[in-house]
Amino acid sequence: MRPRVIDRVIAAYPIVASAGAAALAAGALAGHLLGVGVLVGPESARWLMAPASALALLAASAAVLLAREERPGRARRAAARIAAGAVALVGIVVLAEHALRLPATPLDLWLFGAALAAGAPPIAGRMALQAALGFALLGVALALVDRRGRRFLRLSEALALAAAFVPLIALAGYAFGARTLYVFPSNRSIAIGASLGLFLLATVVPTLRPRSPLMTAVFGDTPGGALARRLLPAVALLPAVVIGLLFRAASAGLIDASTEQALEWVLNFAWLALLVVASARGVDRLHGEVRRSEERYRALVQATATVVVTADASGMPTSFANPTTGEEWPQLESDTWIDWIHPEDRARVATDWARAVSEGTRFEAEVRALRPDKGGYGRVVGRGVPLFDERGAVREWLGAIIDVTDARQAEREQTLGLLDALFSAAPVGLAFLDRDLRYVRTNDTFAAILGLPREVHIGRAPRDLIPGLAPQLEPRLRKVIETGAPSVAREVSGETPAVPGVRRHWIASNYPVRSPRGETIGVGSVVLEITDRKRAEDAQRFSVEAATALASSLDLDTALEEVARLAVPSLADGCAVHLFDEEGILHMVGLADEGPGQVPLGWEIERRYPGGTGLYGPPRVARTGAPHFLEEVTEVELREHAVDEANLALLRRLAMRSYLCVPLAARGRTLGTLFFLSRKWRYQGHDVATAEDLGRRVATAIDNVKLYRRAEQAVRTRDEFLSIAAHELKTPLTALRLQVEARVRAVRRSEGAPEAALRSMEIIGRQTERLTKLVDTLLDVTRIRAGRLPLETAEVDLVALVREVGERLAGELAASGSTLEIQAAGPVAGVWDRLRLDQVVTNLLSNAIKFGEGRPIAVRIEEAGERVRLVVRDRGIGISRESLSRLFQRFERGVSDRHYGGLGLGLYIAQQIVSAHAGAIEVESEAGKGATFTVTLPRAAPFAARARPARGEPVEGRS
């Protein structure tokens, strides 16, 4: 809030006043010390205050400045007291001097002895009696400002005002030329300066504590203050003006003394009367405002039918009444009021009220309380507000009690209405059952689930309405009532009258419903229909499991049995799978049925009527490729299905209520059918789409199995063919080879055989050898494929073996232009199959020669702990990154097949041999930078030698 101007003036006044007083005193002292002429004339006594007065003024000014703060420090307070004490002391000493009529002036002499002794100006050495009185009062007043307690403040203010009165009289005397007023009673006059200073400082004292009652009364923001501020200047200034003017007129001889007094009385009376009347009107106006505000308050209290409560500072109620109507709450008394509050609320109210009383804070509580006018308990809001006195202590409490019973009732009804709307419109089924499991209340969704109108539910139990589901429901409901523990999210499935014959699924949660006293009075059920989700889940599970069964089984017929079994019982009571055989004849290949004796019956029907009969079911669907279903299988339909009476009798025994048959269609062909039958439930239109989808998935899985099997068969056939072909090739080769060798020997033995013939025989021999190796390679591969690669192990020196192979390949090496360097510290022995290892080394060296581009080839043999390492390195064309990963696979080659021939089997066989030795073969290479093959072998092959079948030599071709 912005400080008022008057407050700022009050705050500044002590500084201004003490500065003014100090200036007056300083001027007087200067006059005394310097003997300034103007100050020492004949009239000097009027102007020149005594030196002691000047000093006392200075001390009083200091005391005022020091006492300005309300909470000064210790030192400051002490200084203020000393200054005030000095002022009082000077006043009292001078008063004593006057009283004792001392001729000399001990204080003045002591203070200004030198100046007095000089005697230059006829100064009035002693302070006047009025001044002494004024200073004595002012000093004591200043000394009391700081003291704690209202009494001291009040005394201080009274003394200060008395001190102000003394110079005021003297100043009036100066103003009106009444010498007596400033000279009397001694013959020393009080100087004008001293009077002014004293007056200023005395009036300062109340302003030092602006919140004192006196100051508040005059300057406070209250009607009284406003009145005081208006009246005080008027009563002070206007009489002064009136009297002053009359006095001047009388002095000038215009009027005589009695006229002056008469006029003075008349004018003062007129003026004061005017002032009184104006003030009276002001007071009336203020009073009117107060009365109107009180009227509004009464009207308010009356309008709200509020009972007003008053309580004393200790919190004890003193009255309960509507102050306007006087209406009281009968029997409500101070000491028994708590009895009117509901017993359960008493403790709470008592605690809260006690806390509010002790802390002096607002109190509010809503409680159940007896209503004397209406009887019984109602809801009541009680509020209490503390009223404080000037010192901030609680003087009394004012409160109100309001009956809110009706308002709360309305709120409750609104809430219930909302709940009711929610209950009715909820998209889940909601039901309340009593302890006897009879429906008390249900909503529309619940009624829709049951397929029975809501009115029918009330008072009936689940077993009356939905007997099929009751065995699932009632035990759970009963358990909730007995244990009080909810059963949450349990699945329920079956039919309701809503859709007869169709199995549906729900999730039901049951919660106990308790009375306010906590006993279980019933059960609340929340029911959510999940039929669609459940069907989708079942179908999904079936198709996934069927696909898994088909993929993992070796035997298609077993898998199809399993497929049929997977459909039961979630999708059907019975399921049959029919497939076309190679000749295009439909056969039942899988059957599962829950019914007792139904599986043999099914197979009996299949035996007597293979693939089903006539125009219905699997034969029809298999022929047309379109699904077919009968929602309700009646006798009429059965007769249509049957080809003869015997057939009809068998079909009857199936006891179908409903069936659904879909094609097994894949890649545009119908492979067979999937047939579901149900004895209890009806299949419906939407089941067809799901089943068709299942049919497609199962068919795709069957198709994949068939394709895979065909591919496997093709591979097996090829391997068998290779094996046979290789064996068949061997026979003519054997004869050919022997013949060639015989011819070579014969030619060599015959003297003078032509060189050309020898050369020719050589080539024939070599090429026959090559052909034999190729055939051996093919045989090796077929052996490996069949899992037959036995090892015949013996001690072998790998270094010697490498040298031997190197020598054998010397011709090719020479033709290629490459050199071979064999690096080995000494013999490296191990237990291996010598001939197989020879095959590996030969293959690696041949490759190095073939792809080495005539650059040096290095072979390193080294020992590495329990293992032996063979590293073959060439600097030839290398192997591209994409070829590396496939390098050791069958028929794969690391080079372009437009540049290099070969079967693509060499490295495959080499790797198989190394693996059989529990070793590993690795390759590092980069296109154009050569290749490094590293074979790591354990020193001993891990298994015993076995009889070794015939086998061939290494082959050419990096593979």
Partner: protein
Amino acid sequence: VKGAEVLLVEDDADVRETITMLLEAEGFSVAAVVDGAAALARLRAPGEKPCVILLDLMMPRMNGWEFRAAQAADPALAAIPVVLLSASAQMDLLAADFAAAETLRKPVPLATLCAVVERYCGRRAP
């Protein structure tokens, strides 16, 4: 200028030697090289151009396809007839692909080989 020499391009040493031997025995003059690169080098060397080139397909360094492409791109060599020698089962397809004068499927009967070479080079020595 049509020369009298048969140029044989074949990487397998034994095949190379055998065909050379047989053709020489039949009176043809034969130059044998190991691959397409060697063949090009020989063709571009000064001297008579061969009357026919017997070309194997699968060879290291420069194979038959690459050689044929290089030959066709060289006006001085493009006119020399080329006879393919291959073990491939699809010789007809290859011939069309290759624009070769003739194709001979390995193993080639000697009589056929001689007849083909004779057609391009004429009968030489007895």
